[in-house]
């Protein structure tokens, strides 16, 4: 049940994102989306691995 709920939530998120992308957002630099994705993925890896030296 929990897993089904997670999938439903994920789908809802995707749907919401798709909805947001229906109309153009001229003020958003398209390149920055890729940088944000890279930053997010990198930060997630570092948080999992630990920050300290």
């Amino acid at each position: 049940m929990l897993r089904l709920a997670s999938v439903a939530l994920l789908t809802l998120g995707i749907a919401a994102l798709a909805s947001a992308s229906i109309r153009p957002i001229p003020e958003i630099d398209p390149g920055s989306g890729m940088n944000v994705l890279a930053l997010l993925a990198g930060a997630a890896i570092v948080v999992r691995a630990g920050f300290k030296k």
Partner: protein, 530 residues
């Protein structure tokens, strides 16, 4: 199985995006009949098909429970690949012919039919390349209802999308009222009009549109939170961990109210260009990144959310391998880039922030690099020169009609010390901090991490095809529209690093390329390349 599903999705989505560049459904001037119907619903249908197929596999896995769907076939299906290589050009040809201003009503119907059949054949054959027929049959046998659940959810999601616009107005009103309350706490000269959603001071007024209501940020938080909890589900205690998702959504909305309030205050202080330029476009990303980081840290560190096996989390957190040392300098450049863009208007004056951030991170972790080989051979500058030649050739080939950009006006009219200082920081960034940070991240970490979880034990001299290609492709993608040249550059830097197992060789090759590009930009005043 997951890797193959993801690769299949990347393939199909990549083709979909690539085809959507030359094909614009708005170019179809036939609004009636089958052609017109396809122009309206074709792109939505394609998305439902892709999402439905993905969800079918996901629900199939959930319904099959303990008996995970096992992929026995290790090879790829050559027949499906061949079919895909025939279907894709046929689909592209039909789509290019259909969505063309010259298409007449008489030919549109047939072309639409060909387009639909070609699109369906492309998706089906593409799905069978890595996930063969035996896998799909196995899935249907074990979870008959998976396609029903998958496609129903996909269709419901898109219906939700289509009918979700009604929420924008009350949502905008709520955001408008919250911004007005915050600003009235801070200032007494706030002017607002609830009908047009205009708000500000006597010298600076903005209109809150649907896009500013915080919808995207909340959607991103739902997506990120669900993905995070799903990925590390064994470490969390449910259902209490699910509370993080609504908490994240509320926090994102509050941050959006703060963002709009700050934008008005920045504009009121006289910095109109910054308020409506960099800050407007970047502050949302910054808010989302901060919230995502908070989400990850809280979920990971607070024992209240942890499942019984807390020690598993502690082991991960306390592992402290060299990951941070390899990634943080590169992440610092990205974060500083977003911050400096938010702080400036149309021109990134604070570029030096990237240099300082990367330099500080490299200095902080300097002892961690003791085990890294920094030896430099003659091949390094030669490879750097080769990449430079490829970069320029690709520029000429792929963008033959690009008009050379002169030095940005903001820089031209600035005083000489400011101009020289900015150019100096740009060159130091390109030649020193960027090559070191990117080589640490892409060749030092990613290339080796894709080969083994214990990436520090992987010798750079060893060669692995998949890590070599994937790390180079991701390196290329980070270079935006120059991704092809970027991917080739990544491969050559990986090759030179492998020669003697030295990251120093890759960094020097990278620095050579960037230095030559900098010389070309400054000598020819063609700022397109920066």
């Amino acid at each position: 199985m997951i890797a193959r599903l993801i690769l299949t999705l990347i393939l199909l989505l990549g083709e979909f995006v690539a085809l959507s560049i030359p094909v614009d459904t708005a170019d179809l001037h036939v609004s009636t009949g089958f052609g017109g119907w396809l122009a309206d619903w074709g792109p939505v249908g394609a998305r439902i098909l892709l999402l439905g197929l993905t969800l079918t596999v996901v629900f199939g896995g959930l319904i099959a429970r303990g008996q995970a769907l096992i992929l026995r076939e290790r090879r790829i299906s050559l027949l499906a690949l061949l079919a895909h290589l025939c279907a894709l050009p046929a689909f592209s040809f039909a789509a290019l012919r259909l969505f063309n201003p010259q298409t007449t009503a008489s030919s549109a119907g047939w072309l639409a039919l060909a387009c639909m059949a070609g699109g369906l054949a492309t998706v089906v054959s593409g799905s069978f390349i890595l996930l063969p027929a035996s896998f799909w049959l196995d899935l249907l046998r074990r979870a008959r209802l998976a396609p029903v659940y998958g496609f129903s959810t996909a269709s419901a999601a898109f219906l939700l999308v289509a009918y979700s616009r009604w929420i924008w107005k009350p949502w905008m009103t709520l955001t408008f009222l919250a911004v007005r309350t915050v600003l009235r706490w801070l200032r007494s000269d706030i002017v607002s009009d609830a009908h047009s959603y205009s708000i500000g001071t006597r010298s600076f007024i903005v209109t809150i549109s649907a896009a500013c209501s915080g919808y995207e940020g909340i959607a991103l938080m739902v997506l990120f939170g669900a993905a995070w909890l799903w990925l590390f589900r064994r470490e969390f205690r449910f259902p209490r961990a699910l509370i993080l998702i609504p908490a994240g959504m509320v926090a994102m909305w509050v941050l959006n109210v703060v963002r709009i309030s700050a934008l008005i205050l920045i504009g009121n202080a006289g910095a109109h260009t910054i308020a409506l330029g960099g800050f407007h476009s970047q502050a949302g990303w910054i808010a989302f990144l901060c919230m995502a980081l908070a989400f990850m840290t809280v979920s990971q560190r607070l024992a209240w959310f942890a499942a019984g096996r807390r020690e598993a989390v502690s082991v991960v957190v306390a592992k402290n391998d060299g990951t941070a040392a390899y990634l943080v300098p590169f992440l610092a450049i990205l974060a500083a880039g977003i911050l400096s863009s938010a702080m400036t208007g149309t021109f990134e004056w604070a570029y030096g922030l990237r240099v300082v951030a990367a330099g500080a991170a490299i200095l902080f972790y300097r002892r961690q690099y003791a085990g890294v080989s920094w030896r430099i051979g003659w091949e390094a500058p030669v490879v750097g020169l080769l990449v430079f030649a490829i970069w320029i050739a690709a520029e000429r080939l792929l963008f033959p009609h690009a008009t050379p950009l002169a030095m940005p006006m903001a820089l031209t009219i600035s005083s000489a010390p400011v101009r020289v200082g900015w150019i100096l920081s740009r060159v130091i960034g390109a030649v020193l901090t960027v090559p070191i940070a990117e080589e640490l991240a892409f060749r030092g970490y990613l290339l080796r991490r894709l080969a083994s979880a214990d990436f520090e034990s992987v010798d750079l001299k060893r060669f692995y095809w998949i890590p070599f290609l994937v790390s180079s492709l991701l390196f290329g993608i980070l270079h935006g529209q120059r991704w092809i040249a970027g991917a080739i550059a990544g491969m050559l830097y990986a090759w030179v690093a492998r020669r003697r197992g030295s990251l120093g060789d890759a960094a020097v090759a990278h620095a050579t390329t960037n230095a030559l590009i900098a010389v070309l930009v400054l000598a020819t005043q063609n700022w397109n390349l920066w």
